[in-house]
Amino acid sequence: MTQVILPLSYLIGSVTFIIGLKMLSHPDSARKGNLVAAVGMTIAILATIFLYTDENGNKLGNYAWIFGGLIIGSIVGTLAAKKVQMTAMPEMVSLFNGMGGACAMLISIIEFKHHTSIPADLYEEAGASALKMIPGTLFITIIVGMVIGSVSFAGSIIAWGKLNGKIKDFSFNGQHIMNLLLLGIITALTVYVVAMRPEATIMLFYVILALSLVYGVMFVFPIGGADMPVVISLLNSFTGVAAAFGGFLYNNPVMLTGGILVGSAGTILTILMCKAMNRSLKNVLIGSFGGGAKAGAGGGSKEQGNYKEISLNDTAVLMAYASKVMIIPGYGLAVAQAQHVCHELEKVLQDKGVEVFYGIHPVAGRMPGHMNVLLAEADVPYEKLLEMEDANDQMGSTTVVMVLGANDVVNPAAKEDPSSPIYGMPILEVEKAEHVIVNKRSMKPGYAGIENELFFRPKTSMLFGDAKKVLQDLVSELKQV
């Protein structure tokens, strides 16, 4: 009977992952989909603990260790996930992704130790070393799983650090060549070790591990902040592939399907994000953003002309007598935690008979959908969130556009300046509206480091200050109008 239940549980697991992912891609069923996948995962985990047997029919031991690990992981994971601010969600996903990568990495290391140490005395009689007895397929699975896992782990940790501001962008000339070289060395060493099994195999294995970790760090370091969502999504699919190699290692179908599903789905998601920014994956990875941004900032520091400021009072009057107001949220809104005040502003305006919409650029914030999640937290109705194309259609009939902490997604350079690093990215065409009010903390350029000519255009007025503070004051002003 046991021989049926374990494979059946794995099959159930695989199916729930597919159904879960499918349901996650529709707004109505998304939450249930997540639950379905979680139930499937639980079944697969429990079945493994109690029913798994190796080739000799031995059950698993060390239950105290296993349950200890599960309990600690569950408590810490739940607390971390419950306590994290909605604004810090992208970092959190990156961090969890890194944990998965590290897990895959450790599995490979332990398996390698297991295969190279335990049966040594048996093989010595036959005149061969333990190293030579590892089948090539198994060995390559172990090494590749470790390489991908550790790249994903190191990369995710750097991405996490970059997103919460602990780690600054860092790049130097020839970095890409060095990265390629590093990747070449890792590949060459892997092939050499698997094919030749030199005396130094064990040492070289750990050299490969170290190089992979370095590569993961160097891979994410030069990538500009605006591209971080793409990188996280890509690392997410890396971890999926690493998990799938674990599936190969243990002949385990649920690890294989789960891993590969995430690997391919993650890649598609990555490409969708790139499309939204009109950039190729290659460009993102080579990090031309970093280099180009410097050039753009240099060019942009030429005379930009003057910008004009607008007072809170004037803004309030302008908005109160508008027929339609469009709010363009960006990362600044998330940083200032201003989503609730923003919703309040919307309600006050609506009470005055003003139509209010939100124009959501697909890559506003630090992750696609970031703004939607944030505004949903503040109970902003779903229908008020317009996707970019709908927002642009409405722009012509809009009286006031309020840009809240967004920058690159409204930069006209993307349409007009072929030398700009973001040239070709679709933007929200705020200039079609009658008035544009931009709220920023200062005149500093946005995350991509590019000057924004919008701020100097005649239609634009600047409203300086922290988004939350400004909106609070604006709401109280509006109530008096």
Binding site: L24, V93, S237, G247, M255
Partner: protein, 108 residues
């Protein structure tokens, strides 16, 4: 070379290879039409699903010799990390999607 031959000649490996190829297409099909609103929760959900690597960690842990402390400690660490990935991933995703729910209920 024996790696490539193995992929096709060994029935078990070949079965796995088939699963891999089919799963790739499945992953692409399942994801290709997603509103951008759901990109972040979807990424987070997929992130939780690759936590299935925990199963490997459990197997490694359960097979470690009880006197091999290095393997026990590394295995324990991998179980903790894998669980973090799974549990944290699903809980974060649920939290994101909960907000969509709340707004749905209030709308009508």
């Amino acid at each position: 070379m024996d790696f490539i031959t193995n992929l096709f000649s060994d029935p078990a490996t070949y079965r796995l290879l088939t699963i891999v190829i089919l799963s790739i297409f499945l992953g692409i099909e399942v994801i290709s039409r997603v509103p951008s609103v759901l990109h972040t929760p979807l990424m987070s959900g997929a992130n939780a699903i690759h936590g299935v690597v925990i199963i490997g960690a459990i197997i490694v842990m359960g097979q470690a010799h009880s006197d091999d402390y290095l393997a026990l400690i590394l295995g324990f660490l991998s179980v903790v990390l894998g669980t973090l990935n799974v549990v944290g991933g699903f809980v974060v995703t649920d939290r994101m999607l909960e907000m969509f729910d709340k707004k749905k209920k209030k709308a009508p």
